[in-house]
């Protein structure tokens, strides 16, 4: 087993061989990957050393202390958080070798082609078709939506229907799609904030070789669970300091602008401050459970807290600002590379946070998950389980 001392030794070796001050950023990142220090819990040869995941912090701290460049993880979150664990679990050796290194270094950006106009919460109802041609390649036709980074991406993780004659969960297959292929058209999707973080992606006769399939034909739903479970961890699981996030913004405004204060706003602010602090403590407790090897079900609820509090706090902040709350910083259609829920002005934060209870699983679906998986309550009677996809109402 690789321990902390061994990781420190290897990290120092990397730093000696490739001094950050004189090494090209990309060269350094590639060398770090090849040294197994990218994600230490990954296998050797794929950027890791098979070490415990918790020891990544040891490497990160050593590298940060020496001013080493990082792979800008926020820019490539979909690749790191969703595509990579799925490729690791279901990919062939050839796929892992080809895809993981440039994914981790950020040379190749990834996006996710899952949601469709007709398949949101009921993702398994998706209708994008993949049909095998005589040569064994897959020909894909359909429309995907809410795709962040599609305009920057080299690769996509894609789920498509390969068998319409069986119930919906069973006829799906998971692919890696080359976004530079002919037939892939990316259009910006403007949202209520005025900007376009997301895209619509139209797939017209896109040819995907069978070697870019992840998992078995018809097993795509199970493969996608790996992706989606990692997405929820990515969205709700990060620990924050007291007054981190949205509550810190309004607290600062409250302290700096005494002329805006009213008794009503004060009571509501204090109530939300308490809720934000309790949500933070819930996250701290969840993380301590993970570290102790006893993952708790609280994770399923963290995103519900996060969404509701972001919405309520930013809404109160717009109100607190009074006359200024009537204004908006800029409606110009832009294409931001990074999304900061706590960025820009209060009006933007208010509007953007509306998406927090929709993206990555709606709050309604998450409540069902808590009720059924944590509390063990019965599922609603299903009318779609044993019906062939082609016979479903739509």
């Amino acid at each position: 087993m690789t321990d902390a001392a061994e990781l420190r030794r290897r990290t120092r070796e990397l730093l000696t061989a490739h001094p950050p001050a004189t090494t090209d950023r990309l060269d350094f990142l590639r060398a770090r990957f090849d040294a197994g220090l990218a994600w230490v819990h990954y296998p050797e040869g794929l950027g890791g050393l098979g070490a415990p995941r918790s020891l990544q912090a040891v490497v990160d701290a050593e590298l940060a202390a020496e001013g080493a460049p990082d792979n800008d993880p926020r820019r490539i979150g979909i690749g790191l958080g969703m595509a990579a664990p799925t490729i690791l679990q279901y990919g062939t050796d050839e796929q892992k070798r080809r895809l993981l290194r440039p994914l981790w270094t950020g040379e190749e950006v990834w996006c996710q082609l899952f949601s469709e106009p007709g398949a949101g919460s009921d993702l398994a109802a998706l209708g994008t078709r993949a049909v095998r041609d005589d040569g064994g390649d897959w020909i894909v036709n359909g429309q995907k939506v809410w795709t962040s980074s599609a305009h920057l991406a080299r690769w996509a993780i894609l789920i498509a229907r390969t068998d319409p004659d069986v119930p919906k969960h069973r006829g799906i297959t998971y692919f890696v799609c080359d976004m530079t292929d002919p037939g892939v058209e990316v259009r910006p999707l403007r949202q209520i904030t005025g900007e376009a973080e997301f895209n619509e992606v139209f797939l017209t006769d896109v040819r995907i070789p069978d070697s870019r399939r992840l998992g078995d034909v018809g097993d795509g739903w199970r493969v996608a669970q790996t992706t989606l479970n990692n997405e929820r961890v990515a969205i709700g699981g990060t620990p924050i300091p007291r007054e981190g996030g949205m509550i810190g913004k309004i607290a600062a405004t409250w302290r700096e602008r005494p002329e805006l204060r009213t008794h009503d706003l004060h009571q509501r602010l204090l109530g939300l401050w308490v809720e934000a602090e309790v949500a933070r403590l819930t996250g701290v407790r969840l993380r301590q459970q993970l570290v102790a090897g006893q993952p708790g079900p609280e994770g399923a609820g963290m995103k519900l807290n996060f969404a509701r509090l972001n919405q309520e706090i930013s809404g109160l902040e717009v109100e607190l600002l009074g006359e200024e709350g009537l204004l908006y910083d800029d409606w110009t259609m832009r294409r931001p590379e990074l999304v900061d829920f706590t960025g820009r002005d209060a009006g933007y934060r208010y509007l953007r946070s509306k998406g927090n209870s929709i993206e990555g699983g709606t709050s309604e679906v998450l409540l069902n998950i808590v009720a059924e998986r944590v509390l063990g309550l019965p599922a609603e009677p299903r009318t779609d389980k044993d019906v062939a996809w082609k016979d479903l109402a739509r």
Binding site: H263, L281, T282, V284, N368, P378
Partner: protein, 362 residues
């Protein structure tokens, strides 16, 4: 705002073992039906249960140092006991005697009384209204020629106390034998922690020390650990309601399968997950002394709404049976509602936070 030291929010193995022992005892000796019956009698407290918990198990001395005969444990362990007592809505003077009065005696360094409390031969209560928040205004009695005169109301568990710790108008805290006072039970919303009127008619007391710091410390510990009792109440209410809704069938389905109800229970579960974190945080802060005022105020600004919400949801989702005297849910509703006032209402703790975290009123 500066980074906070990270509190320890999990339960240790020893704490889980303590919980299991307390739960076993309560399962055998604190049946909800008996608690209902007992509330209708002249002696609502369960004295035999108290003797087992406080005496045989030694839980009365958790916060008392070993050299005085106690267990030398911390608020973290006392919090686990309170979770279990809350889960059983047990009518015993644990919070009032083994936490609040004990803290006041620790503040004054009263070794002989602490020894008696640890040995469970004496029950003491602080003669301050249960509704008073840490730092709140405290009623006192008159000291006249060395004797105490006056009347104090809302003194929880006074009817089973042997010793009353009484604030007097000279700024002192006095120990008075309950036998020397007139203790009149008040008819109360929550009969499992009944308040009483205490009348002192020229009684001599023993001056223990200054009342203000002792009372403040006692009420802060009471408020902080009350959150764990509220967690226990809420946890039982959710568990019992989920169990019932899986069994109860209407429209040819378990009622718990209807999405409108599932979402309510899922939200409640999430609130309780928050309360567990906040209550553990308060208990840990009381034990370590780090960030204690904020931790206690956050817990008490949050806990009451959750416990009361859990009780109100439990009653509604049980339907007609939840409205009956026979079903124990009303015991929990009444305790949860009384707890929402005990040691300061949520708004009082929010007001304290406004000062503590610099979010000042207009």
């Amino acid at each position: 705002m500066s980074a906070q030291p990270e509190p320890a929010l999990l339960y240790s193995e020893e704490e889980e073992a303590l919980r299991a022992a307390v739960r076993d005892l309560l399962t055998d000796h604190c049946d909800p039906a008996d608690v209902v019956t007992r509330t209708e009698s002249a002696a609502p407290h369960d004295v035999p249960l108290w003797k087992s918990l406080a005496g045989s198990m030694g839980l009365a001395g958790l916060l008392i140092p070993e050299e005085l005969g106690g267990q030398g444990a911390t608020h973290r362990e006392a919090a686990v006991v309170l979770e279990e007592l809350g889960r059983a809505v047990a009518p015993v003077p644990y919070l009032t005697s083994s936490v609040v009065a004990t803290e006041a005696l620790l503040a004054c360094g009263v070794e002989d009384l602490l020894g008696e409390l640890a040995a469970a031969t004496t029950v003491a209560v602080l003669a301050v209204g249960l509704h008073v928040a840490p730092g709140g205004a405290v009623a006192s009695v008159r000291l006249d020629s060395g004797l105490l005169h006056g009347e104090l109301t809302g003194i929880a568990d006074a009817s089973v106390a042997d010793v009353l710790l009484v604030p007097a108008d000279d700024g002192g805290l006095y120990a008075v034998g309950a036998a020397d006072a007139t203790v009149t039970p008040q008819v109360s919303l929550d009969s499992t922690r009944p308040p009483a009127r205490v009348t002192l008619d020229g009684v001599s007391g023993r001056r223990l020390g200054d009342a203000e710091p002792a009372v403040r410390r006692a009420l802060r510990a009471g408020a902080g650990l009350l959150a764990s009792e509220q967690l226990g109440l809420a946890d039982w209410l959710l568990t019992e309601t989920v169990r019932y809704l899986k069994e109860r069938k209407q429209f040819n389905r378990p009622v718990g399968g209807f999405q409108a109800l599932k979402h309510r229970l899922a939200r409640l579960w999430l609130e309780i997950a928050g309360l567990r974190a906040a209550a553990r945080n308060a208990a840990d802060a009381l034990a370590t002394g780090a960030d204690t005022d904020v931790a206690v105020a956050v817990a008490q600004a949050y806990a009451a709404r959750v416990a009361v919400h859990a009780a109100e949801e439990a009653l509604q989702l049980h339907g007609g049976i939840g409205m009956t005297w026979e079903h124990p849910v009303h015991l929990y509703l009444k305790r949860a509602k009384a707890d929402s006032i005990a040691y300061g209402a949520a708004g009082t703790h929010r007001a304290a936070l406004a000062e503590l975290v610099d979010l000042r009123a207009p």
